[in-house]
């Protein structure tokens, strides 16, 4: 039993099931991120935890209490909305204490909670202002303050950073992370931004089409994605997915792929159970940072494979240079050091870290797990 249990929860609108048997157990103090493209059901799930939408079947319990049918205000949760949803006619202070007032908390206690939280978030000087007079970042803080004042069991965040500009978003991300480390409250956080998911969470649930595709720590999700959807959704640039044929030679398993000229190239794989796929096609997944120039390769890796290929495009990005080549008929992006000697049209020697490569079944698109 976790602190927040989502057991076999489904959601239907009429005959359309939008959420299929979702099962998640969240431990106290965990930071769970629900991530997925729009329409994947992540916000619906969050709203069901909040009690803003009914559960079609299954159970949700918070802190050992089944909350189905319990009014949102009695679930001891607090929510931060995408639009912040600050009450425009009230001052910041009134906004933050409105929930306490509604719950009949006496004024001195409300004042104290307000003082504590506004100090924590450094918004003391804003308390008498109206939301309309605040900047985006300040509104975001106030919205978080309004949630914090309640001292809830679970915090729910619904894409709280997507209305901010890029720089502020990064700052607030760090801020939220800091706050969580400090307060250790349980958080469920919805976002479509995979970077937010990876940086903030202790665990991630990647969702698509109403299913949880994979539930795991950021490292698990990133290094060992359960299927091609997870592999390509998480990480930027996305993981390269290349068709390859398995060849076994003297007990050594090779993946054969074609280079820019259509010539076959062999890469030795580390995954021995791929031998069962001898002569068949698989999809090989390689992250851009596992494809480097030889000098920039991970020196600790025991399976660095060299591959000569022609460069199609180079994209200098300041800290790195992204290099595109054609492999297995598809564009494959590698991440070189900024000063790597790569130019479009040239032949180049790539170093591929096969320890980090993953294999997918082309039919099911699921990962072929090593034994």
């Amino acid at each position: 039993m976790g602190f927040l249990d989502i057991t076999n929860v489904t959601k239907s609108y009429g005959n359309v099931e939008v959420l299929h048997k979702v099962d998640v157990e969240v431990q106290e103090g965990e930071f769970l991120v629900l991530v997925g493209p729009s329409g994947c059901g992540k916000s619906t799930l969050l709203n069901m935890i909040a009690g803003l939408e009914d559960i079609t079947s299954g159970d949700i319990s918070i802190n050992g209490r089944v909350v189905s049918g319990v009014h949102p205000s009695k679930r001891n949760i607090a929510m931060v909305f995408q639009s912040y949803a600050l009450y425009p006619n009230m001052t910041v202070g009134q906004n933050m204490t409105f929930g306490l007032e509604m719950h009949g908390v006496p004024k001195p206690e409300r004042e104290k909670a307000l003082a504590d939280v506004s100090k924590l978030l450094q918004i003391e000087q804003l308390l008498d202002r109206k939301p309309g007079q605040l900047s985006g970042g300040q509104r975001q803080r106030v919205a978080m303050g309004r949630a914090l004042v309640r001292d809830p069991d679970v915090f729910l965040f619904d894409e709280p950073l997507s209305n901010l500009d890029a720089k502020l978003r990064v700052d607030m991300r760090t801020e939220i992370k800091k706050l969580h480390e400090q307060l250790k409250t349980t958080v469920v956080y919805v976002t479509h931004d995979q970077i937010e998911a990876l940086t903030l969470s202790t665990r991630i649930a990647v969702m698509n089409g109403g299913y949880i595709q994979q539930l795991g720590t950021p490292r698990e999700i990133y290094d060992t994605p359960a299927n091609i959807f997870v592999a390509t959704f998480m990480g930027s640039p996305a993981m390269n997915i290349v068709p390859a044929k398995i060849k076994v030679d003297n007990g050594v398993v090779f993946a054969e792929l074609t280079d820019a000229e259509g010539q076959p190239k062999l890469l030795r794989t580390v995954q021995s159970n791929l031998a069962a796929w001898d002569g068949r096609e698989i999809l090989l997944g390689i992250r851009p940072e596992a494809i480097t120039d030889p000098d920039g390769a991970d020196r600790k890796s025991t399976h660095l494979e060299r591959l000569d290929n022609r460069i199609t495009v180079t994209e200098p990005a300041g800290s790195d240079t992204f290099v595109t080549m054609t492999l297995g008929g598809r564009d494959v992006i590698g991440r070189m050091r900024a000063d790597a000697d790569a130019a479009a049209g040239q032949m180049f020697e790539f170093a591929i870290n096969m320890e980090k490569a993953v294999a997918f079944d082309p039919q099911t698109e699921d990962r072929i797990r090593p034994d």
Partner: protein, 292 residues
């Protein structure tokens, strides 16, 4: 070439501008003329009017016609002046406007923030009520008022005007509240506010502009209504009916100066409402229609 065009643009600009102002001035005079005639003649003794010059300023200024219109003029058979009817109108218009505005606000709140099955059909039907001509409902309304015992009374008139007004006020508030994000209501729900608390503490404080629109609209309509007042007023007829009885009386001398004063008295409250709240009116109408 561009210089040349600009040059001509400036010179024609001056001429057209002068023409525009001239036309506007003429229109303004044209529209102000009736008001001038009314005010000027209401401040003259009667013999100056019957003497023939309606457009002249008074030679002897007098407020006698105003006093007569207000308290001693013959309305129908009673020499009461317009005062009791003015009071009737106030007693009718204030509750009618207040009740229809409050109902419209609550309806708008429910139709946008507490959606239910068939809410759009219900709203469509309420909108439909805006297009029903008064004359059609006279007889059914008379039956209903008679059955519930409100015929010929001010509460009866209030009921009629509320029923007729609620379609409009619902339309205003619904369109206005449609622009208010639903996340506000959700946040308030999580904060523990109930149905009326959310309305009272969150939605209503945002409703200033649209309330002005609703109040002006309802006030003007209810105050100016003649048909319902004449049909259902009974012994407590509103100002408009009394004004008609004053002006249309067919015996005795026609006291035009008193009639003018009476007509201005009848128009004064709506005029005041417009002057006081008018600049919010346009703003509120825009807010309601454009964002909705």
């Amino acid at each position: 070439m561009s210089v040349a065009t600009q040059d001509t643009a400036i010179s024609t600009g001056k001429i057209t501008r002068a023409l525009i102002y001239l036309v506007l001035l003429l229109f303004a005079l044209f529209y102000l003329l009736p008001l001038f005639v009314m005010v000027a003649n209401s401040l003259k003794p009667l013999d100056e009017i019957t003497g023939g010059n309606m457009l002249a300023l008074p030679q002897t200024w007098t407020i006698e016609p105003w006093l007569a219109a207000w308290s001693t003029a013959q309305i129908g058979v009673e020499p009461t002046g317009l005062r009791p009817y003015f009071i009737n109108s106030i007693l009718m218009v204030v509750p009618a406007v207040a009740i229809s505005t409050i109902l419209g606000a609550i309806n708008g709140y429910i139709l946008t923030k507490w959606r239910f099955k068939g809410d759009n059909i219900l709203f469509g039907l309420m909108l439909f009520s805006c297009f029903i001509p008064f004359q059609i409902v006279l007889i059914p309304m008379a039956t209903v008022l008679g059955k519930i015992g409100l015929a010929g009374s001010i509460p009866g008139l209030i009921l009629v005007h509320v029923v007729y007004g609620v379609g409009f006020t619902t339309l205003y508030y619904r369109n206005y509240y449609a622009a208010v994000p639903s996340e506000l209501v959700r946040a308030a729900m999580i904060d523990g506010a109930g149905f009326f608390r959310i309305f009272w503490r969150i939605l209503l404080p945002l409703s200033g502009p649209i309330t002005v629109v609703s109040v002006i609209w309802q006030f003007t309509n209810v105050w100016n209504d003649f048909l319902f007042g004449a049909s259902f007023g009974g012994t407590s007829q509103p100002m408009t009916v009394a004004l008609n009885n004053l002006v249309q009386s067919s015996t005795g001398v026609k006291e035009y100066n008193v009639h003018f004063a009476g007509a201005i008295l009848a128009a004064l409250p709506t005029l005041i409402v417009y002057i006081v709240a008018g600049r919010y009116f346009v703003r509120g109408l825009m807010a309601g229609s454009v964002k909705g």
